[in-house]
Structures are given as structure tokens and as C-alpha cells.
């Protein structure tokens, strides 16, 4: 039977078992919205800004193992979505974005609400398509989902002109698709795995550096077993948090710019480094030359060859899916007669523990006068039992959330690491809450970031999303202020947030509950009360110490051991 393009699109989404699509209507997608209206399998979540649609689809994907879906109209709908798409691209998040386009006959004529969607998004998608014929829609959407979720995941955009969504074609959803140029890696090469096992068994100072690939690749269980088997310290990147349990003794905390002293020192001084699903980002290894000063052997497992040897030279590159590769590595290690050298490991741990003491782990001086932001996060951890989904915006509050909320499970920590997009937290929390109904979802934000997508409080009301918003309100674009204090002679150029709204009234205006907390003594009761309100969105405005800084800090471009500790200042 022939269906219209729009019908085909919705049927495809149904075939892909898409439960929620996030979007915003407009002229070019009217036919698609008409079809959405006629069915109830794919539920549409109407956001208040297209950027939020994409972040919500992103949070949905990060907190599940599903592909997020967003629908936007042509022109401004698409351009509004670009920040969200780039955010997902930088963090390798599987997502399909369907954008309307002006009719095929109008393309290129500067038609009303025309932009070159494929051109604008090209550098920030895994792939994109312009569909010019309704009979190509089904296969293209199938390909889009396939590309988004396989290999290194990423966002895929499908741009559909308005006339194409109204023309008819026979609908048949392909069982499978193959793309001749695209072969996502699977198992690792067994010789390389044996080689890796040998290197790890012979290591005197082994170290495991695990990133977002562990979370995205669902390889957490394999990683935990491997770390225990090897007896090595393990660190996570910002994106990898929860991939290895923070409560485990072998966890040395996050590494990098705001990582723990011990994680960074162990990274610098290990003799065999196993990097898994991590990409040696410049916020992790700020100074490649400094890192190379200490000789060490590096084994790097990643599904994307271009992540390997991009910034740091690698001795054993292994291109494979992490879950499979770690499984193979475990098999080889378990069947090997050789065991890690206990004496060497003991003296390595003695060193690591000395660093732990010197770095002091994560510590701050609490106060009875003014609310310390770290204290808010610690209390949040306590009240939620460390088991909540935590989304975050970007800034100091993000780092404190990463440092002080000890994540024990993957997919619980949802933040924008690669692009660092302020405004991510609240809309991402919407997606998280929808796909995890009944679970506790909190958004840790700053008074700056929250105002970038605050309109989503309205979406939360419409769809009854009982998110708990914790604004660490320091009246500053704190992360900017910190850099200005450290590196720009205390000249706080445009980093003071003046004329802040009354967030309590604002929350109430949107139909939610607002709380303002000024005293440290009120922090715990407030959080308790807020989380007891299971059905309400509660906006907590914590007036925190406005001059608190994030420590430790490895300044940009510095080596891992060139760290500023809290007491150095």
C-alpha cells in the first residue's frame, strides 16, 4: 500500500520502537506532525526551544541504551537544534534528528525558512542525509538509526523536504541495511589481545584509564572484573564516571584538569597504561610533551581508530568494541598461569596511597556561615543514596557534582563534556526522567547555565516531570571568574550575574515548587523535603559561597603533576 512520506516517517519511528520523540512543529514539518497526531505509539514531547529537544533526546539516550529522537522544522528550527547536535556529537551520543526542509522545488531559492541543513550540520554529525524521494525515506531512516547506534555512536540528521513528506510511496521497512563503506569494528585481534595481556602481567606500575566508551559501550562489568583481576588503580574521565564504581578501593577518582592528585600522578608515573574508551582529551592530558617525559607503554582500545594516536603516541593500538575486547582480554588473563606481580603491585599501591594522602582526596573546608557548594553535593549524595540520575550544566557546579557525587553505576552521570554546553542540564533531565519513570532525577546547575534553557520548566509542567533542580547560585559565572582570578589578575570582566530573577517566584510562576536556601544548616532539611515531594519539580536556589574555587586544578597546557591544590593558595 502506498503511504505519504509523513506516514512513512512515523511508521519507521514505530518500527524502531521509539517511545518518545522530542520536538517543535513548524511549516516544513506540518505533514509529519499531522501523522504524529493520528497515532499514539510514538509520544511527542513538545519542548519550548529546539535546542532543548535535542538535549532531551540526548539525555534519553545517555541514560538508556536507546537512540534519542528529535524533530525540528526547517530554518530557525534547525539552527536552534545545532548546539544540541554538536553537544551529542562531541560526546558520541546516538541520536536521529529529523528536520523539515523547504519543498524540493524551492531549495536553493532562498525560500522562506530555508537553510542548508546538511551543510550546516555536516561537521557535527556522524552522517546526514537529504531525502529527495519518498521511496527513499524508509531505507534512509533505517540507515540513520543503524549509523547512530553502531560503531562510535553519534547523531545522524535526516533532512526531509515538505513535498517529500506529502508524496506517496510504497512503505516497506527494511529488515537490515548495509553500507558498503561502513564496517563497525567488533572483536579484537586475538594476537593483540594476548600481547596486551602479557604487557599488563609484566607491568610493575599498571594503570587503567577508562572513559566514556565504557559507559556508551556497556562494558562496565567487564572493566570492573579486569581491574580486580589486575589489581591496578583505575581512573575515570569526566565522561566515564560511574563506568567504574567510585566506592571501589581501586578507584583513584577522576583524572585531568580537575581530577584527583593521585589519579593524575598515577597516570603520569605508571609504566603500563591501559586506555579504554577514552580519547586523551586536552582536559585530561593538557601537555602532551610533559606526559611523554616519563616513559610508559600504552595500550589503547577504542572502536574509532581516529581516537587512537591522535594526541598521544600509543604502543599497542587495538581497534575493537570494548565490551568484546575486554571480554577477550579477561579470558586470556584468566587462563594464563602468570599472575600480576604482587610485590611490585604492593609497592606501587604504597606510592599511590602516599599521593592519596598528599592530595587529600576531595576535600574542602566546610562552613557554618556560608553554604559551600561541595557540601550541597555531598548532601545530595547522602539523601539520594548515591543512586540518582544526575544531570549537570557547565561550570564549577559541574566539576563539584563530578567530584563529590560518587557514581557507582554507569549512565547515571549525564553531562556535556566535549562541547561544554551551558543549558544542557534541565532539558537533558527531561529525557532522563521520561525514559526512567519513577527514578530520582536531579539537575545540578548554576544560576548562569539554568537561564540558558529555563523555559523548559514549562515543558516539565506539561509532562509532569518531577525533576529536582539544585542551583548552586554563586552569583557568578563561577568557572569564568575562577580563571579570571587565577590567570587574569582578578579582573572579573562580565562574569558577575547581576539582576538575577527570584528563582522561587520563577519556579512558582511555572507551576512548580521553589525553595531558597541561605544557611548551611538548612541544606540537608531542604534537600530531604524536596526529594520527599515525589511528584513535584522542586527548584532549590542555594546561595553558595561566591568565591569558592574548584580544586585540584591542572591549569590548561600544564603537565599532570603541575597541579594547584587547595592549600597551595
Amino acid at each position: 500500500m502506498e503511504l505519504t512520506g509523513a506516514e512513512i516517517i512515523i511508521r519507521c519511528l514505530q518500527e524502531e520502537q521509539v517511545e518518545y520523540a522530542f520536538g517543535y512543529p513548524g511549516g516544513a514539518v506540518l505533514f509529519i506532525y499531522d501523522e504524529l497526531f493520528k497515532q499514539d505509539k510514538v509520544k511527542h514531547i513538545l519542548v519550548r526551544h529546539e535546542q532543548a529537544a535535542v538535549h532531551a533526546a540526548d539525555g534519553y539516550a545517555r541514560s538508556s541504551d536507546k537512540v534519542g529522537v528529535a524533530i525540528v522544522t526547517s530554518g530557525p528550527g534547525l539552527t536552534n537544534a545545532v548546539t544540541g547536535i554538536a553537544t551529542a556529537y562531541m560526546d558520541s551520543i546516538p541520536m536521529v534528528i529529523i528536520s523539515g526542509q523547504v519543498p524540493t522545488f524551492a531549495i536553493g531559492e532562498d525560500a522562506f525558512q530555508e537553510v542548508d541543513a546538511v551543510g550546516i550540520t555536516r561537521p557535527c554529525v556522524k552522517h546526514n542525509f537529504l531525502v529527495k524521494d519518498p521511496k527513499d525515506i524508509a531505507e534512509t531512516i533505517k540507515k540513520a538509526f543503524y549509523l547512530a547506534r553502531t560503531g562510535r555512536p553519534g547523531p545522524v540528521l535526516v533532512d526531509i523536504p515538505k513535498d517529500v513528506s506529502n508524496q506517496k510511496a510504497v512503505f516497506e521497512y527494511p529488515e537490515s541495511v548495509s553500507i558498503r563503506s561502513y564496517h563497525p569494528p567488533g572483536k579484537a585481534d586475538s594476537t593483540q589481545i594476548r600481547h596486551a595481556a602479557q604487557m599488563l602481567l609484566e607491568a610493575k606500575r599498571p594503570m587503567i584509564y577508562a572513559g566514556g566508551g565504557v559507559v556508551q559501550g556497556d562494558a562496565s562489568l567487564q572493566l570492573i572484573e579486569l581491574v580486580h583481576l589486575l589489581g591496578a588503580p583505575c581512573t575515570n574521565t569526566l565522561m566515564g564516571l560511574g563506568g567504574f564504581p567510585a566506592g571501589d578501593n581501586q578507584f583513584v577518582g577522576m583524572l585531568g584538569m580537575h581530577g584527583t592528585y593521585e589519579a593524575n600522578m598515577a597516570m603520569q608515573h605508571c609504566d603500563v597504561l591501559l586506555a579504554v574508551g577514552a580519547r586523551f582529551d586536552d582536559r585530561v592530558i593538557g601537555n602532551v610533551a610533559h606526559f611523554a617525559e616519563v616513559p610508559r607503554k600504552i595500550i589503547h582500545i577504542d572502536i574509532d581508530p581516529s581516537s587512537i594516536a591522535k594526541r598521544v603516541k600509543v604502543d599497542l593500538p587495538i581497534v575493537a568494541d570494548l565490551k568484546l575486547a575486554l571480554g577477550e582480554l579477561l579470558d586470556v588473563l584468566k587462563s594464563s598461569k602468570q599472575k600480576p606481580d604482587a610485590a611490585e603491585l604492593a609497592s606501587w599501591w604504597k606510592q599511590v596511597n602516599e599521593w592519596r594522602v598528599k592530595g587529600g582526596g576531595m576535600r574542602y573546608k566546610n562552613s557554618t556561615e556560608v553554604i559551600k557548594p561541595q557540601y550541597v553535593i555531598e548532601t545530595l549524595h547522602k539523601i539520594t543514596g548515591g543512586d540518582a540520575f544526575i544531570t549537570s550544566d557547565v561550570g564549577q557546579h559541574q566539576m563539584w557534582a563530578a567530584q563529590y557525587y560518587k557514581f557507582n553505576k554507569p549512565r547515571r552521570w549525564i553531562n556535556s563534556g566535549g562541547l561544554g554546553t551551558m543549558g544542557f542540564g534541565l532539558p537533558a533531565a527531561m529525557g532522563v526522567q521520561l525514559i526512567n519513570p519513577g527514578e530520582t532525577v536531579a539537575c545540578v546547575t548554576g544560576e548562569g547555565s539554568i537561564q540558558m534553557n529555563i523555559q523548559e520548566l514549562s515543558t516539565c509542567k506539561q509532562f509532569r516531570l518531577p525533576i529536582k533542580v539544585l542551583a548552586l547560585n554563586n552569583r557568578y559565572l563561577g568557572m569564568v571568574r575562577q580563571w579570571q582570578e587565577f590567570f587574569h589578575g582578578n579582573r572579573y570582566s562580565e562574569s558577575y550575574m547581576d539582576a538575577l530573577p527570584d528563582f522561587v517566584k520563577l519556579a512558582e510562576a511555572y507551576g512548580h515548587v521553589g525553595m531558597r536556601i541561605d544557611n548551611p544548616a538548612d541544606v540537608e532539611p531542604a534537600i530531604k523535603e524536596a526529594f520527599a515531594r515525589k511528584d513535584d519539580l522542586v527548584f532549590m536556589d542555594f546561595r553558595t559561597d561566591s568565591t569558592e574555587n574548584v580544586f585540584p586544578m591542572v591549569p590548561g597546557g600544564k603537565g599532570l603533576s603541575e597541579v594547584i591544590l587547595a592549600e597551595d593558595l
Partner: protein, 163 residues
């Protein structure tokens, strides 16, 4: 170092801009880039001449391979290969210069493909350096116009880039 990279890509609108966009977005060098369809109408063949450190060239190859529209990549410089470039050059050819320029074209195995009272248009193929040499021999003041295709490359013997 200079590298000459060949690739097969889907003969689709937008494929070229993905490759070109990759080079500009990541700050890679392009000395020249040529592209045309192959005997298989679904595919185009592109030759890119670039330069960079070994690490940069490795990334270029990986990034090219990552593009969904790119079907196969070969760094021709890693083995024996041939490269040729076509140039059309229009030169001022007046009076006694005409004989001399004709002889020069012969020496370089060029062909005069268009003649007017005051000009010759010469077609020349060869390695880029040969074309450079010809232009130098003719001299700047006589050159009216040059068009070069950029290098096309192919592996020697059994080195074949095909699906």
C-alpha cells in the same frame, strides 16, 4: 612530507564537500584535489595531494576512512606509484618567439592545441615538477593563463584501489 592520497567515494551530492570540509575543519593542508566519476557510475575517484607530519597523515587517513561516503582510501606515497597532472597554458607567441616556443613545447612533449596570431595554447601532462619546469622555461612574461588539474595518481603494478 608530501603525500598523495587516493580515495573512492560514493558518487553522491555532498560527498565532495564532506572531504573538503574535513580538511578545512581540521586544518589539514590541501595542495590539490581532483575528482571524477569512475567506470562504476556509483563511485568517484579522488586524488588529494597533502602534506604533514607522519602523525597528521595518519589522522588524515583515519578521518577520511571515517566518512560514511568514503568507500576506500589508499596512501599512494606508501608504495610505488605514478602521478600525472594535465596543464593547459596559453602563452604569448609573436614573431620570432613562435618557433622557439614551438620547439620548447616539443622538448617537454607538449602539444599545441590552439593557435591564434599572437598566442599558442599548449597541453602538457606529467609530474607537477615537469609542468613547473616548463613554465619556468617559458618565462613569466610570456604566460597569459594557466589551468592545472592537480595530480591524479595510481599505484604501480599490483597496487590497485578497487572495490
Amino acid at each position: 612530507m608530501r603525500h598523495i592520497i587516493s580515495l573512492l567515494m560514493e558518487n553522491e551530492a555532498g560527498a565532495l564537500s564532506r572531504v573538503a570540509g574535513l580538511f578545512s575543519a581540521r586544518g589539514y593542508n590541501i595542495e590539490s584535489l581532483t575528482v571524477a566519476p569512475t567506470e562504476d557510475p556509483t563511485m568517484s575517484r579522488m586524488t588529494i595531494v597533502t602534506s604533514g607530519s607522519d602523525a597528521v597523515i595518519e589522522q588524515i587517513n583515519k578521518q577520511l576512512n571515517k566518512l560514511v561516503d568514503v568507500v576506500a582510501v589508499m596512501d599512494l606515497s606508501e608504495g610505488e606509484h605514478l602521478e600525472r597532472e594535465l596543464m593547459l597554458v596559453k602563452i604569448r607567441a609573436k614573431g620570432e618567439d613562435r618557433d622557439e616556443l614551438k620547439r620548447m613545447a616539443d622538448i617537454f612533449r607538449g602539444r599545441i592545441i590552439d593557435v591564434s596570431n599572437e598566442t599558442y595554447t599548449i597541453e602538457l601532462t606529467g609530474a607537477g615538477s615537469k609542468l613547473d619546469n616548463f613554465l619556468e622555461a617559458v618565462g613569466r612574461e610570456l604566460i597569459l593563463e594557466t589551468v592545472r588539474t592537480g595530480a591524479s595518481g595510481i599505484g604501480r603494478g599490483d597496487r590497485i584501489l578497487k572495490l
